[in-house]
Each structure stands twice: as C-alpha cells, then as structure tokens.
Amino acid sequence: MGLLSIIRKIKRKEKEMRILMVGLDNSGKTTIVLKINGEDTSVISPTLGFNIKTLTYQKYTLNIWDVGGQKTIRSYWRNYFEETDGLVWVVDSSDLRRLDDCKMELDNLLKEERLSGSSLLILANKQDIKGALTPEEIAKVLNLEAMDKTRHWNIVGCSAYTGEGLLEGFDWLVQDIASRIYVLD
C-alpha cells in the first residue's frame, strides 16, 4: 500500500478495508467468505476466476476478494495485490501431502513488496475433520516464527463447515488493520 493511499484513507475516514483471500485450491476460501456472510454453503463449485463480497463487519466495510486457488490461476493472484489491507491465507489442515506446496506459495507471496504492509491472517481450516493438523502444527510446518519482524500476523484454527473460529480470526484481522490505518475514535 502506498503512502498516499493511507493518507487518503485517513482523510476520508471511509472505513473501508480491502481483504485478499488466497491459498491453495480446495482450502475452503469461498466457503469461508460465504459462511461469514451468512450464506448457504452447501453447493460451492471450485472458483474459476474470483468473487468479490462486500460486507459490513463491526463498523467497517470489508471488500473481500476471494481468488481461485487452482495452479493455473495462481499466477493471476498478483493482479489483486494493490491496496490490500489484509491478507488471509487459508490452509486445508487435512491435506498433509501438499503442505510443502502450501509453504512454498505462502513464502512466495510474502516476498511480494506490494503486500509488505498488509496484516496476515492464517486460517488453519477444516479443523472439524479428524486427522487435521492443529494450528500449532501448521504454524511449525509453515515456519511462521521466521517471519519478517515487521509483519503483523496471526494464525487461527477454524472450520468453515461449522463456522468455528472464523469470527475470532476476522476480529483480529479487522482490529489489526484498524489500529494501523484508522483513527481510533
């Protein structure tokens, strides 16, 4: 995020936040967004392209960009980096085989300069599935402790299926963004 846009936001007090949801395919990004918005999650096709959802959360307006995670379209993620306030990295905690893919893609993403100022929420999704790794284990696998000192990050276990953990995660994210960008009134 550029300096000018931060100032513009302070001036206008528009209370908008731009959130980018990314992660490997099958991690549950679309389900999470729909669940938070109180929509039906029983029929969701893999995302071909992206979805934008605008929703009111606390006193903020969140513009959530849910971008498809299939390998073919991961290269398009970068088109959505500009002006991102919050980054949500979604992990399928039951997909043990692709954890190294997951780590590699996250490492790549965090090297991106345009995302360097954004808060990072890692959602260890699918905690309701027996055999899923815990958020602590996911944190170790992704080696989150080695993250850049200046990055604001948090990892939260969740289940988009039951809704557990989603609000905790987004509460943290929204508060963290608010404390960086907006006047606390």
Binding site: S45, K71, R97, D100, K130, A146, K149, T150, L167
Partner: protein, 335 residues
C-alpha cells in the same frame, strides 16, 4: 447456528466496548500536535539509539538477540499506533513524515536483524540449503515406500501420515468407513489395483494411480485427484478436483461443478455404484439426487466458450450400467 453467531456478535460488541473504555482511561493521547511531535521524536531517538547500540554491543546468545529485536520491533509498533491515534489532529505533512520515519526505523531494524541473525531471516535460503535432489516436490518415484515422508523433507516439522492405501500393486483394497472415525482418507501410489470404499468419509485424497479402479461411497467434503493414468473412478462428492489425469473415465455425482486441470483424454458419465446400504449413505451425505453436474465440467486449462478438447461425455454404449461391489468377489480389508 444463527443464534450462536448473533450471540458471538453480542459478546464481541461487549468486548470491544470494554476495550475502548479501557483505552480511554489508560492512554493519555496527545492533545495537540506539539505534544505529539515531542513524544514522537523522543521515542524515535530512543529506538534509533537502541538500534545503534545493539549493532556495537549485543548478547551472544541467539535467543537473547531475538528478544532484543522483538523489543525494538514492539516499540516501533507502539510508535506506529501513536501516529494512527493522533492522525486526526496532525497536518497531513506531519502524518506523512511520521510514517516515513517509521518506515525508516523498520528498515533499520531489518538491517540490524539481518546483521545479527542473517540465516534465520531468509527462509528461502534455509530451504535452498536443505534442497536434496531426491526430495523434489515433483518427483515421480511411485516405488519408493517412504515417498510420503520424504516429500516433506524440506519442511521444518515431521508430518504424520493420514489413514489410507499406499504403495500397492495388483491388489483389491477394501475399506468400510461405516462406524469408523476416519475423517480424511488417502489412496496413493497404486498400480493395477481395485479400491472399494463404502460408507461415507469427509475428504478423499487420491495421488499417483495407474490402471486402477476406484469405487467410492459418498464424500461429504471434497475429493482431490492428482496424477492418474488409465483409471476408472466411480465416486460421489460435494466437490471434485482432478489434476494431471490422462485417459481416465469418471462416473460422478457431484453437488457442484467438477473441475479438471492439466488433464486430457478424460470422459465423464453419471454415478453408477451399488452396494448394500448405498442409498442410505448417499442420502445421509445429501447426495441422493442426481444433479446432472457430472457433465458440467470446468477445464481450468481451457477458459473459452467452446467445448474443451480435454474431456468428453462417455458414450452411453460404452458405460458400465451398474457396478455392484457387494457382489464382486475377492478383496481384503487392507487396513
């Protein structure tokens, strides 16, 4: 569910009110831009001198170095917060220059960090150093019995195996999920096997199969298939993703649109599995009705309006009518 969400909403509101009054009583926000500027420059000087001092004289124990750096980083965050809180009373020039100062401080801390603990910071260096030609993510060594654990060789944490069938050739593998507490199941590195899965499971992962037949009861979450050659799949699921498959036939019932990626020569037909209790299992998984989605395939490698050349509908006269795995012979419970 809705009730619970709204309860949480209420609790959240209460909490945030509590937090707010908390911060009102405890923090003494600067009341004018001059007090802000003097506080800001004090903290700035203190942080700068701590960074400079640490450069000359720092503890030798890496964990102490780390906590020293964490401390400085926390001070910078506090300063950043002060700017955010005071921004409403500052002229835009001051906001801009304060933010610039903060970003310079962060930069200085980063530099210090890389001077004191250079290896820790660059995770990709770590990775490159450990890189082992046998542990490449894209290796194809289906005969390697340890493939699942070696594939995680460049992760910092040993990962356990999920339940599943692995590394078999020419076997009939049978598993009934009814009454088991298995959540996700893996079928990988099989050659010329027949896999019969009955009952329902939350997630199914399929990896590196050749010349296999896989018959599965309902999957209430998703199926992920990666690398399959010359196989037949009969499965019902809420979501199905197919990667790197060639020359396979899929008999599917899906609640959403199945997708293929990097796949060619695959054909699709409706689900045709039968075993004792299949209707009940399908109903329990909300998969008892035909959705017609077996023919609504999205090809992520063919984003055009015309039909993808990579998949087709399996001609009716070439389809199985019904596969009844209750009456098929043979098979051992491989688990």
């Amino acid at each position: 569910m809705l009730e619970r969400l709204s309860n949480r909403e209420q609790i959240r509101l209460d909490n945030s009110l509590a937090r707010r009054s908390d911060s009102d009583s405890h923090s003494n926000l600067p009341s004018s831009s001059t007090t802000f500027l003097s506080r800001f420059s004090d903290s700035k000087r203190s942080i700068e001198s701590r960074i400079d001092l640490s450069r000359i004289d720092h503890p030798t124990d890496p964990s102490q170095v780390r906590s020293l750096l964490d401390n400085i980083s926390a001070s910078i965050s506090d300063l950043e917060k002060l700017v955010a809180e005071s921004s409403y009373l500052l002229p835009s020039y001051e906001v801009r220059s304060s933010l610039k100062t903060i970003s310079d401080l962060k930069q200085a801390l980063e530099t210090l960090n890389s001077e004191l603990i250079p290896r820790k910071k660059f995770t990709f260096k770590n990775k490159a150093a450990k890189k082992d030609p046998t542990a490449e993510p894209n290796e194809t060594t289906p005969e390697n019995p340890e493939s699942v654990s070696t594939k995680h060789g460049n992760l910092s944490f040993p990962v356990r195996d999920s339940p599943g069938f692995r590394n078999r050739k020419g076997d009939i593998l049978v598993k009934n999920f009814k009454g088991s507490d298995i959540g996700e199941f893996t079928v990988s590195d099989l050659d010329s096997c027949e896999v019969r899965l009955t009952g329902s499971v939350r997630a199914l992962f399929i990896h590196r199969l050749s010349n296999c037949k896989v018959y599965a009861g309902p999957v209430t979450g998703s199926v992920l298939i990666d690398e399959a050659d010359g196989c037949v799949f009969v499965m019902a699921s809420h979501q199905i993703r197919i990667h790197n498959a060639k020359g396979c036939d899929f008999y599917l019932r899906v609640r959403s649109r199945p997708i293929i990626e990097d796949t060619s020569g695959v054909r699709f037909a409706p689900y045709c599995l039968n075993y004792e209790g299949v209707e009940e299992d399908l109903k329990g998984a909300s998969l008892d009705e035909e959705t017609g989605n077996w023919a609504n395939v999205d090809d992520f490698r063919w984003l055009r309006a015309v039909q993808s050349p990579n998949w087709s509908v399996l001609p009716e006269n070439e389809r199985f009518e019904v596969v009844n795995i209750s009456t098929l012979g043979g098979g051992t419970d491989g688990n």
